[in-house]
């Protein structure tokens, strides 16, 4: 059986954001599995948020704050750059940014793949809780701050204080790391990590070999109160 995708164009030059989002949300909820194109996004906020079901959405230009937030199952592609908080609290599905992403991309994400083809700025993956984030360029300072679970893969360089107060998220960086945050250390790359990286790089269509990366993770020294430091408090 072949599936034919019917493509609907929603033009934001003539359609209000609320209308655009409610049509997308209704289609996702109805498990319509159809394709939508958002014309003239012009940097609008909160484009294609709260999609709860399989749906293909292509945003034909740059988006503003909170694009594709809370995404579940849908596949959202931005053919431009995304403003702060893209794919915030994403649950599943795929969000692809062809250009750059601004600060706190993928914040608190629980699952799915956030694929950023350009750079991501500060606080990428802050408090991530299971999402996979692949950044083809560089990431800014304080990325993966308090990251709990999931994988952050960076093909370029990382800024200051990577992985500060990190829990169990895994961080893979191919380029340089300007500095590591508190309790974040470099860790041994074992076969299972190379295997995992290969899967993530393939999924993201990233031209890099797993062997080129270094792994960083939590030293787990902040997990418990240290009685030897009692005098310092």
């Amino acid at each position: 059986m072949t599936m034919t995708f019917e493509k609907t164009v929603l033009d934001m030059a003539t359609t209000e954001l609320r209308e655009v989002n409610s049509r997308l949300q209704a289609a996702a909820k109805a498990q319509a599995n159809t394709a939508y194109e958002i014309a003239n996004p012009r940097g609008a906020h909160a484009v294609a948020v709260g999609l709860d079901g399989p749906l293909e959405v292509r945003v034909k230009g740059s988006a503003g704050y909170y694009c594709a937030g809370m995404n579940k199952e849908a596949s959202v592609t931005v053919e431009g750059s995304a403003g702060p908080g893209v794919a915030e609290n994403m649950m599943s599905g795929v969000v692809t940014i062809e250009g750059d992403a601004s600060q706190y991309a993928g914040a608190t994400g629980h699952g799915g793949l956030l694929n950023i083809k350009g750079n991501a700025s500060s606080r990428c993956g802050i408090s991530m809780k299971g999402i996979d984030i692949v950044v083809h360029g560089n990431i800014g300072h304080m990325s993966a701050f308090m990251a709990q679970k999931g994988n952050l893969v960076v093909l370029g360089d990382a800024g200051d204080a990577l992985g500060d107060s990190l829990y169990e998220a895994r961080l893979f960086v191919r380029g340089t790391v300007k500095s590591l945050g508190a309790d974040c250390i470099e860790k041994e790359m074992r076969p299972e990590h190379l295997e995992l990286l290969k899967v993530l790089l393939d999924k993201a269509g990233a031209a890099a070999r797993p062997e080129e990366f270094r792994r960083y993770g939590s030293a787990r020294r902040l997990y418990n109160f240290n009685i030897d430091h009692a005098d310092e408090y």
Binding site: R42, G43, A44, G61, S62, G64, Y65, S81, G83, P84, G99, D100, S102, Q103, N119, S121, S122, G140, H141
Partner: protein, 296 residues
């Protein structure tokens, strides 16, 4: 939250469109700052002359014979252009100080002065402020605009941005400074005074005083990272260029775009949507604690 826009033209041909392009950018930033708006525009200049922009709440009265009064006081030719609540007086640079003292003595508020810079700012929605001043019709080489959502001082004309603390220099700011009172006292000890209670004006005065002491614009902006505490995305204008700097935390948004025709700055990409050639422009986010500036 506040909105910032800036446009620095690289092509002479676009000069007549500067005000029009900046006005659209400014209005797009209304929901980041609906309580006041302002613009500094760098336009035509005449050899040896200076322009002083003043504001009055009673412009009809205050501006009626102002040119004649200042002419008599400083014994030099003065021309006046009245634009709503603002007036731009053009007079020989040699008598600038005396003219400003006389204007202040008459109870007028000084918005700024310089060879090419004019500043227009008022309380109200950006679209209303732009219409009152006829911003769309203004030409120039570069300009900076601000839409304000007040946090650190009252919603008044004097609290609106841009702030100018030296000839042809101005500053707009998104964020809030936490050591502005201490810095205000430090500057006052050096004889540098501000006109309002606003935190941003202290930032502007800091940059001006550094430049007056011999620093370049770049060095003065570098200094803000060391000496000013708080959140800031600053955009500053000078006669020949404009500069951008963000604090090291960089939580206040910033985006830039560059083509062969212009360099543009905005708090959000939305403000760029109507710029010519934006589809193929290089668009990027300025790095934290990094100084950028363009000069002609």
């Amino acid at each position: 939250m506040c909105g910032i826009v800036g446009l620095f033209l690289k092509q002479e041909a676009l000069r007549p469109r500067l005000g029009d392009l900046l006005t659209d950018m400014l209005i797009t930033m209304t929901d980041r700052g609906p309580d006041s708006a302002g613009i500094a525009i760098y336009g035509d200049e005449a050899e040896g002359m200076v322009k002083i922009t003043v504001q009055s709440d009673r412009p009809a009265e205050a501006f009626a014979d102002l040119d004649a009064a200042i002419c008599a006081a400083v014994d030099a030719p003065v021309t006046i252009k009245v634009v709503d609540t603002h007036a731009v007086l053009t007079l020989p640079a040699a008598v600038e100080k005396a003219a400003i003292a006389e204007l202040e003595a008459q109870g007028l508020r000084i918005m700024g002065s310089g060879a090419s810079m004019e500043i227009y700012k008022e309380v109200g929605l950006p679209k209303d402020v732009a219409a009152r001043f006829g911003l769309r019709a203004m030409g120039g080489s570069h300009g900076i605009g601000h839409t304000r959502m007040a946090t650190e001082s009252a919603v008044t004309t004097m609290g609106a941005h841009p702030f100018s603390t030296a000839d042809d220099q101005c500053l707009v700011h998104n964020g809030s400074l936490s050591n502005h009172n201490q810095m205000r006292r430090r500057l006052a000890k050096k004889g540098v005074f501000t006109r309002s209670e606003n935190d941003t004006e202290v930032g502007a005065a800091y940059i001006s005083s550094r430049i007056a002491e011999g620093a370049s614009l770049g060095e003065a902006l570098e200094g803000t990272i060391e000496d000013l505490d708080g959140f800031f995305t600053f955009v500053t204008g000078t006669k020949t260029g404009f500069g951008v700097v963000r604090d090291p935390i960089a939580c206040k948004p910033a985006v830039m775009a560059e083509t062969e025709d212009y360099v543009a700055f905005a708090s959000e990409y939305r403000a760029f949507a109507d710029l010519p050639g934006i589809e193929t422009a290089r668009v990027w986010e300025p790095e934290p604690a990094t100084v950028y500036f363009w000069e002609r």
